[in-house]
Amino acid sequence: MQLSTKHLLGIKDLSPEDISLILDTATQFKEVLQRPVKKVPSLRDVTIVNLFYENSTRTRISFELAEKRLGADTINFSASASSVSKGETLLDTVNNILSMKVDMVVMRHSASGAPHFLAQHIPAAIVNAGDGINEHPTQALLDAFSIKEKTGSLEGKKIVLIGDIMHSRVALSNIYLLKKMGAEVMVAGPPTLIPKYIKEALDIKVEYNLKNALEWCDVANVLRIQLERQNQVLFSSLREYNLAYGVSKKLLDGLKKEIVIMHPGPINRGVEIDSDVADSKQSIILQQVENGVAVRMAVLYLLAGKRAI
């Protein structure tokens, strides 16, 4: 068995079998990460470039650790400290890097579809680490892995995505993935941050009242308010957003059951989520980060195995 795609551009292109394969392989890598020597030599003949056109802490460190723990050689590239500022195009930059014998590209770009464009022009395998407001597949995979680890399975689980659905690539990847794996998905947030026809287009539930959404779900994935992508005023103030849609301890204590709280990071404490919730026992935010390395190792391992010799 192997993946049906050569690249990981988005969850949209994956089959449920692909997703299960990645999650199962990640379980084995998670065990590797508990060993005294947290490293295997599977990809020691592979060179990977991390191409980051946008800032990142978690994803970048997580990918770099995953690559190193698979024994791969890595190069880091950030647009701000490179010839991109001299006007070099994306394709030229990548072709120059590839001519130095690089096998895989991990990329993040602020333009939606940038990795899809690249996939049509270069031979190397591409892993999308977030493109604009489109997809962030490895985040969705690690979210699914964490839900599975915490609750046992994805099938039939009720999962709500809260907040800035409009600008969130995490939300879109999560919706595709959870639907494919048989979970029930709801999005919740202010109407200005939820795309108008999302209910019909993606066949999911929409809720504008936070309390109702939390009452319905088993797992709540709280998303960051992406001020850098909002070029118009979509809510009056952060304080008002917090009052209406911030997940607070009081709100969670009022529910009939204990739900699982997730957040892809970085957290805006006191905006979409309160500090005491983010640091509570219900929250698996740091487990998500831990699982990220194992999931990314699985993705890189499975894609590298597809490469022809």
Partner: protein, 156 residues
Amino acid sequence: MRRLAHQLLENHLNLGNVVFIGLQPRGIQVSAKMVDMIRELCPNDPVHYGVLDITFYRDDVREELHLANKTDISFSIEGKIVILIDDVLYTGRTIRAALDALQDFGRPQKIELCVLVNRRFNRELPIQPDYCGKSIDTIISQKVKVEWDKEQVILY
């Protein structure tokens, strides 16, 4: 198999210092059976048993994609005598990978190899078993199959 178990016990009087590790996927049945026998023979001794998957240590990752199985070694192998158990020893490459993998778990005092069937020709690495159930001479085009329900080894 019973003879192998007795041989293992003869050479290792103190089981507290010995760990048994079966190799995924096909060494599991042999090793589980062997460990059961040893537990039966020495009911009062602690018998440490783990399973090891060597997929990530293979030298042919890029030629064909292999999927990993579970690794479960819930004890330290530091300073212990490790007995690797597999069904068939052929090219020796699996054992090479297993030796690499074991290094990542610690530094054992000694590693020994116990196999059910030893295919004597076509070895590609200098690896020989310390205990072996049966030695057979085969050529590359022949296949060796261990059938458990009939408890026999078949040559094709």
